[in-house]
Symmetry: C2
Subunit: 350 residues, 2 copies
């Protein structure tokens, strides 16, 4: 299978992609939640358009460069969930805002001022959501009072429009997250400011967000491909995993040790809940116990029975960085495949 594809290679099963896409869209539709998938997982404008055709309201990006590439590919509604800092980036945001429906986030006055300085004379205001730290301890304002104050600042800033609240939530704490965001929203409304959007969501808590009624928008990313982490978290099965890395055994130095042609440059050195750097499909007794840049080290307790030249299929621990390591990916349907597709938003770091 796939003999004409040189390894290491990424294969993406479109049948599984479509099933994953539809499943979450159906869930969101059933609960009246708007889906705004994160493109970090696939980085493909074509797949973003498929998600929108399936019912998503738009997409989420992390970088201005990613949003530019998605807009170029035809996506018309984008939320950048990142503090955009520096005149040149904000000018790119302004240019993008003139072309599409765009929103960004802010968690400090510094970010709001930087946006307003460039946008103040714009004919079209830029929508800005307040990023809230509801327990993840990454970015975000720390209190509901700070959220309210920043909403006021955005509301008052020339060229900006307050769009609502946004949080990247900690896994498994839906109720706490809902309370935080609900109280913040109420405080903002009390201050006479509308709060149309409350954007939240992640893949580990994929189909639990209806338990957070304040949330209007779900931003899952990984669900489109799934990965070993999602399997270990109990929210996906091996059969849901749409992206696999096709590799070749290049050496079998001993009966319990083999080497594949995919190392950290193909599988990423991202760790998982369990030891090992990926799941080898069909070989439950084999572990990817270590990676160097171009070598994956397979070890086993019993003899591995692998042969040099043999091909293996691996589900990565974390699928999103894998999409960032391959210039091209192969779309497959069962055993059929076409020419590789460019990962257009790969490496869009700024």
């Amino acid at each position: 299978m796939f003999e004409n594809i040189d390894t290491p290679a990424v294969l993406i099963d479109q049948i599984r992609v479509e099933a994953n896409m539809k499943r979450l869209q159906d869930y969101c539709n059933a609960h009246g939640i708007r889906l705004r998938p994160h493109i970090k997982t696939h980085k493909l404008p074509g797949t973003a358009l498929q998600q929108i055709k399936c019912g998503a309201v738009g997409v989420t990006c992390q970088k201005v460069g990613e949003a530019e590439i998605m807009a170029e590919g035809g996506v018309g509604d984008i939320l950048i969930t990142y503090n955009i800092i520096g005149k040149s980036k904000v000018e790119r945001v302004r240019a993008l805002n003139d072309r599409i429906d765009l929103a960004v986030v802010a968690d400090s006055d510094f970010v709001v001022s930087g946006l307003s300085n460039v946008l103040q004379n714009s004919t079209k205001p830029l929508t800005v959501l307040v990023e809230c730290d509801t327990g993840m301890r990454r970015c975000g304002v720390q209190t509901i009072e700070a959220a309210m104050q920043l909403a006021k600042d955005i509301d008052a800033a020339a060229g900006l429009r307050f769009g609502g609240l946004m949080s990247y939530p900690p896994t498994g704490r839906i109720s706490e997250v809902n309370t935080w965001l609900d109280e913040a929203k109420s405080l903002i409304l009390t201050n006479g400011i509308e709060c149309p959007v409350v954007s939240c969501g992640n893949s580990p808590d994929l189909e639990l967000w209806h338990k957070a009624p304040v949330v209007t928008e779900h931003r899952a990313g990984t669900y489109i491909y799934c990965d070993r982490n999602m399997i270990l978290q109990g929210v996906a099965t091996e059969d849901d995993c749409a992206l696999i890395v096709l590799v070749t055994v290049v050496s079998t130095p001993t009966k319990t040790r083999a080497v594949i042609d995919a190392g950290s440059k193909a599988l990423t050195s991202d760790l998982s809940l369990k030891p090992g750097y990926g799941l080898i499909i069909g070989h439950p007794g084999l572990d990817i116990s270590a990676l160097s840049e171009e070598h994956g080290h397979i070890t086993s307790d019993l003899p591995h029975r692998l042969q040099v030249g043999q091909r293996l299929r691996i589900i990565p621990n974390h699928v999103c960085p894998v999409s960032n390591l391959f210039d091209k990916v192969h779309f497959v349907r069962g055993e059929k495949y076409d020419q590789p597709v460019s990962v257009a938003a790969r490496g869009a770091l700024t």
Copy 2:
């Protein structure tokens, strides 16, 4: 400094690159060791040519694709230290062998047969070295007898020429490695086969290879830039580090926690000897304690005193994968810099 460069960005100090290059070349010259630097660290044909101009005999690549890009850039002597498997890759090796001085390695009959099948009618034989496992437990034949047998097989194979021995050695075990390779070489000579090259070397044992008299060739890679791992191993200082990642503080949620715009997509999730994902130049009290894809989490015991918008310079744990994450890098000399340079061999995975 570097205000016009958007972050995250890679800056490469050419003054330090040249000093690192010259220092190791001087060492090799003084001890009669031929230097064949590994391009995995920089992935830049221009830098490879600089290394050769400085006295290197050629370069080392890990992938056929990297070697093709280096040859295209003008490099005329390349060793690919990888088992090349599969007809299409071996055909590319044959085409490359017709253009430049090329050598590859093998650690099994399977690899030797695959090479010979394609090269047997070539007018120019392909040089093949035997990869030896001298303690690293990655690829390589396991015994000196197996090395001798494979040397015989290569010597007898149509279209191939036995070139010598190659090992990626374990750190800090020069004497053991020397014994292994010396005994293997002697056994091969006893069997009437010449063994012109014994290729070894790494950056952690940078200037120790004169203690292994059997070694004729040194393949260090990381020495050209150095990194936090080399500092922690005691073979480089902060001032030797030529590649730094320029980042911006995007959020300061609390007095002891800040967030930068470089996560695993910029710094890699490669771990180091000590906790933390990089060294923040000039801020010894700050730790990069965690990474998500686009966020670096800085934590400190005392208040960090960082401001949103402030720029920081980071020495990565492991510099080679960082070169693989950026499409372009900025060459700098002190505070001067030009247009960014394309990392030509980035992502050449096959």
